[in-house]
């Protein structure tokens, strides 16, 4: 039996809309109480239109998507680069695409490029807020020829 990587070479999942409550829940769970994320007066005094989500909240939601698609126990590496802010009311659209499949001592190793776009409350967007990458290993698997994701 050979299961060559994730079930599908691309995947997509939407989360949200993200509320102030979601942001505050993450502040507590993640222990990040920078007031820029929960104190409207602090955020507007710094020149922002509102509080905004922790980058790590968006990264965490992207990891939920990536782990669901690639397999939680398969993940070997996960990285994110923050591009823009997520505001209350934004809906997150997470996407992944397998960009490389190689054989390693560990079985097949699959690398996927990840993105998060937001669409706003009033139909604004989509706007790119985060890019990322994940590598997952599938022990005991090998490339099977056609359709294995190899270029």
């Amino acid at each position: 039996m050979t299961v060559a990587g994730p079930d599908t070479p691309t995947a997509e999942r939407a989360f949200g809309p993200i509320s102030r409550t979601d942001i505050v829940r993450y502040a507590g769970a993640g222990g990040d109480f920078n007031p820029i994320h929960h104190d409207e007066e602090f955020a507007t005094a710094a020149g922002y239109p509102a509080v905004f989500a922790h980058g790590l909240l968006t990264a965490g939601i992207l990891s939920t998507f990536a782990a669901g698609w690639l397999g939680l126990e398969r993940l070997r590496r996960f990285s994110v680069r923050y591009v823009d802010q997520v505001w209350p009311g934004d809906t997150l659209v997470t996407r992944g695409e397998v960009v490389e499949t190689v054989e390693s001592a560990d079985g097949l190793e699959v690398t996927a490029r990840l993105t998060v776009h937001v669409t706003g409350e009033h139909g604004a967007g989509p706007r790119l807020v985060l890019t990322g990458q994940a590598t997952a290993a599938y022990p005991g698997t090998e490339l099977t020829g056609a359709g294995d994701g190899r270029d």
């Binding site: 993640g30 939920t64 990285s79």
Partner: protein
């Protein structure tokens, strides 16, 4: 405003226990729905000793050892997250006792679309109660030279 002298500075080491309740709280906050995070029986059926931490659970370690206690003294109104990378060597499950150590690995000053900024990258290693490296995290914080409000008032003065 220069932070170059921070390179190589060790971050305070600390130890914490991965509690099942914290795993569930964190998994809920990142909108996770995999039973491995919530249900000890599902985790056991998959071969884990207890519920499994989500991929970015290391962020919750801030609850035990805030990075601002590393003496970085960043101005929070000017700080943004830049990016992060997690490397997984072993699963982290409830009941694990993790010791975290790390240091500042690079400091760069750049000019971007938000003006001048300092990028400070830290590496933290999470070692479990058996002395095994479970996780390595590199994260970059951006300290803007000026907040958006600072920039606006500067623009008014310049006009």
């Amino acid at each position: 405003m220069s932070h170059e002298d921070l390179v190589g500075r060790a971050l305070p080491s600390y130890t914490f226990t991965v509690e099942a309740g914290k795993v569930i709280e964190f998994a809920t906050a990142v909108l996770a729905d995999d039973a491995l995070h919530f249900d000890a029986e599902a985790a056991a059926a998959a071969g884990y000793a207890a519920v499994v931490a989500p991929p970015t659970f290391s962020a919750a370690a801030q609850s035990w050892g805030a990075p601002t206690e590393g003496g970085l003294e960043l101005d929070l109104s000017r700080v943004l997250a830049g990016g992060a990378q997690w490397e997984y060597d072993l699963p982290i499950v409830a009941g694990d006792v993790l010791t975290v150590s790390g240091e500042v690995v690079s400091v760069e000053h750049k000019t971007g679309r938000r003006g001048g900024m300092t990028l400070i990258t830290r590496e933290s290693r999470f070692v479990n109660q058996r002395g095994e490296l479970a996780l390595t995290v590199r994260s970059t914080a951006i300290e803007l030279d000026r907040t958006p409000a600072d920039r606006r008032s500067q623009d008014l003065e310049d006009a």
